[in-house]
């Protein structure tokens, strides 16, 4: 019964979302307040219906209803409850439903918290959100129905791909989608502005909090995905420049650019047309990512099923929205009054510099990702573009950008003083040089690039803190006054400093682990030891063990310090999942400070020997800690008083605070 309720809710949502797509925009055009007023309740009802459908699918998974095809293919009655629930989106149909759930969630948020928007803008935005939801609901009902039933129902399901049976699946896709799909709001705002042919600084103030929210979640989603791939796949890598990773990274790069250009627009009402274009591009890249991942044109862990019909359908959606929005942009951009100009050396100039490099970098990633697909489609030649391509193109483009990061927040609006800013950054620069020198000295001049990279990371980190120090007057005024001023600084200043600091931390992690990490592949017998960094690793032997839906062989290792005293024990395993007859590797990882030991088991050899791959990964956790700092920076910025105008939900909180 419950799958039918879900099915029915989906159909009802599709009908209702058509109303949401059509009526409000006509109302906005005719200045009819009653028609515009349909938008908010329709958006809320659509969200409620999709949530109901989603809940029904979760229910089918939890009770292992094997009359539903989707549950048979991706679940198993013996599977732990957590993986039954996360399995809902560990497949094509369910993940598309999650996509739409989050899309309608954002529409509902706009409907709820957009009371301060001009009614026509709000109606248009919700209509455009409705168009996107219509397209994807059609896609689900036509090609990817999660509620398809079969009779007779089998006794047991085929289980979820063991690689996906992990806590990572509970966190990574929802976070990533919240980011990906969150940019739809920016897209809708941009399309609404183009339809109205009117745009001002207030528009940027409304769009910025949505951009920040989406960016924050996308940052978290990508970082989480990276860590998940790192520990689950057992390959020891944290980023593979895999097309699917690029698919999520491109909207992040464009979204980062959008975040910065919207700032210029809000403060100086310049870069209007460019900001609108970026908003369109960012969500277009999200759609492109959805297409790449869901259509089966790529070879990846993320592509669950290959069905040409689905690919064509998403391609049609992609063409319609990207082509349509860009055409609208081409027709209407002229009508948007262009903003004021500014001196190249200024805060605006720095943000343009940021945008220039970020969008160019996005373009290189886009070309590297799409070129093999295009070439195969045109000539039939199968090629692959690997990490060296991206390192060689993306890397050099990031260097000037990173070097410029500390300057941006210190430059004044309109007309900046580059020399003055450089003087104020002298301390950070000197310390960065010191770090470079130290690395050169410790490696006897062998690791020039790494020394440079670490210097750059220190420069970004300290340069970001310099802004806080200068603005609060640390060192110039008594400590108490400085502290008071520091507390009183706008939240967005903290947010900027924190996010930029996090960027430096991530860079430090990347350079550290790439340069100083070691990898050894050796055959070991019980009792053998292997030197790793300043430790020795002892192999103790293999023990069989059984989990809820798998059996495993655990390789036990002991980590000995230089005095041969055991400091840690590590277990790495090879699992076998009988439901899918599929083996997986469970890496053994221990963290010491910011460094990690990473052990992955290979095949067994004769005489109880085993092939082991052992990595020493210094600084590796900094990569993800930096991303967390970036997320925190986004969150702190969101609390800024200035943005509360754009997010009345916060205003209510502020009011209760004032009353208390």
């Amino acid at each position: 019964m419950t799958p039918e309720i879900g099915q029915f809710a989906l159909a009802l949502a599709l009908a209702l979302v058509l109303v949401q797509s059509v009526l409000p925009i006509i109302g906005a055009w005719r200045h009819d307040p009653r028609m515009m007023a349909v938008a908010a309740p329709a958006a809320l009802a659509v969200f409620a219906l999709i949530a109901l459908a989603f809940a029904m699918l979760v229910h089918a998974y939890v009770v292992s209803d094997f009359s539903v095809l989707n549950v048979i293919e991706n679940s198993h009655s013996q599977k732990p409850l957590l993986y039954k629930i996360t399995g809902v989106w560990g497949n094509h149909e369910g993940s598309m439903l999650l996509w739409v759930l989050i899309l309608t969630f954002f529409s509902a948020l706009v409907a709820l918290f957009g009371n301060n928007l001009p009614p026509a803008l709000k109606a248009n935005v919700l209509s455009v959100q409705g168009w996107i939801a219509t397209a994807f609901l059609l896609f689900i009902t036509a090609t990817s129905n999660p509620f398809t039933r079969i009779a007779p129902a089998p006794m047991e399901g085929r289980d979820l791909n063991p690689i996906l049976q992990d806590i990572g699946l509970a966190v990574h896709p929802p976070l990533l989608y919240l980011g990906y799909v969150g940019f739809s709001v920016c897209f809708s705002f941009a399309v609404a502005a183009l339809i109205e042919g009117r745009i001002d600084a207030a528009w940027a103030r409304w769009v910025r909090p949505w951009t920040l929210v989406a960016w924050m979640f996308l940052t978290g989603g990508i970082a989480m995905g990276s860590y998940w791939a790192y520990y689950e796949l057992g390959w020891g890598g944290w980023w593979f420049w895999d097309p699917v990773e690029n698919a999520s990274f491109m909207p992040w790069l464009a979204g980062t650019a959008l975040l910065h250009s919207a700032l210029v627009m809000e403060k100086r009402s310049a870069l209007k047309i460019w900001t609108v274009l970026l908003a369109l591009i960012t969500f277009s890249l999200s759609l492109l990512g959805t297409f790449l991942v869901r259509s089966g044109v790529l070879t990846s862990v993320h592509t669950f099923a290959t069905d040409p019909g689905r690919g064509l359908f998403i391609l049609a959606i992609l063409t319609l929205f990207i082509g349509g929005s860009l055409a609208l942009f081409a027709f209407r951009a002229q009508s948007l009054a262009s903003g004021g100009l500014f001196q190249p050396i200024s805060r605006e100039g720095a943000l343009v510099f940021n945008n220039l490099f970020l969008t160019t970098a996005t373009a290189t990633v886009l070309i590297g990702t799409l070129y093999p697909l295009l070439l195969e489609a045109l000539t039939g030649d199968k090629i692959s573009v690997g990490a060296p391509f991206f390192n060689m193109t993306f890397g050099p483009l990031m260097i000037p950008l990173l070097a410029a990061v500390p300057f941006g927040p210190l430059l004044a609006w309109k007309r900046g003083d580059l020399l003055g800013v450089a003087q104020r950054l002298m301390t950070a620069f000197a310390l960065a040089l010191l770090a470079t020198g130290f690395v050169l000295y410790r490696t006897s001049g062998r690791e020039v690039l790494a020394a440079f990279g670490i210097g750059l990371a220190v420069w970004v980190m300290l340069g970001s803190l310099t802004d806080l120090a200068l603005k609060s007057g640390i060192g110039k005024v008594p400590a108490g006054t400085a502290f008071g001023r520091l507390i009183g600084l706008p939240r967005s200043v903290f947010g900027t400093a924190l996010a930029h600091f996090g960027l430096g931390v991530t860079l430090l992690g990347i350079v550290g682990v790439t340069t100083f990490g070691t990898e050894q592949v050796v055959a070991m017998k019980p009792g053998d030891t292997l030197p790793v960094a300043s430790y020795r690793l002892r192999y103790d032997g293999i023990t069989p063990a059984t989990g809820p839906n798998y059996t495993e062989e655990q390789g036990r290792f002991t980590l000995l310090d230089s005095a041969a005293k055991p400091v840690d024990s590590i277990i790495a395993a090879r699992r076998f999942y009988p439901a899918r007859r599929m083996p997986t590797t469970e890496a053994g990882i221990v963290t010491h400070g910011v460094d990690q030991f990473y052990i992955s088991l290979g095949d067994g050899l004769d005489h109880d020997g085993i092939v082991v791959r052992v990595w020493w990964k210094p600084f590796v956790t900094l990569i993800w800690l930096g991303a967390l700092a970036m997320m925190a920076g986004g969150f702190v910025s969101l609390l800024d008083r200035r943005l509360r105008v754009g997010a009345p939900a916060k205003r209510k909180i502020a009011r209760t605070e004032a009353a208390a």
Binding site: I383, V385, M392, V611
Partner: protein, 144 residues
């Protein structure tokens, strides 16, 4: 600076960055494009060029030989021709005889392929797309 000069400065800067990016991409493309081949596709030029390739096909039955330590030899076949592959490292979980693999590496002058990475399909129903397409094109595909 006048309005025109400012605009020119921005456009000039943008063109500069784009030019840099295009130059970097051209260099990278000329160095880091790896063609996918199955054994029957290979030409004498491919084998002699010393370039990196992705070689894909099925692991031929009865050819997997373990050497000392972590060294492994096996043959990759598309059922028309087969190529001997030498690999030093850990094989993926789903590496089995008569299953699809994609290996990446270079040819030795003696015609053996020295792989530095081996990828296998990652679940029961899945075959690397490049391999599946090639086998279908050659009419030796046996899956669905």
């Amino acid at each position: 600076m006048s309005r025109k000069q400012k605009r020119l400065a921005v456009i000039g800067g943008a063109l500069g960055v784009l030019g840099l990016a295009v130059a970097l991409m051209l260099i990278a493309f000329s160095q880091d494009i790896r063609y996918f081949r199955t054994p029957a596709d290979l030409t004498a030029e491919d084998m002699a060029s010393g370039a990196r390739f992705r070689l894909g096909g099925l692991v031929e039955k009865g050819t997997v030989v373990r050497g000392a330590g972590t060294r492994i030899e096996f043959a990759v076949t598309d059922t028309i021709k087969s190529v001997k592959v030498i690999y030093d490292g850990i094989l993926p979980d789903l590496f089995r005889e008569e299953q699809g693999v994609v290996t990446e590496g270079k040819f030795n002058p003696d015609g053996t392929f020295v792989a530095d990475s081996v990828l296998a399909k990652h679940d029961e129903r899945y075959m690397p797309k490049d391999v599946a397409d090639s086998l279908k094109a050659k009419g030796v595909w046996q899956g669905n």
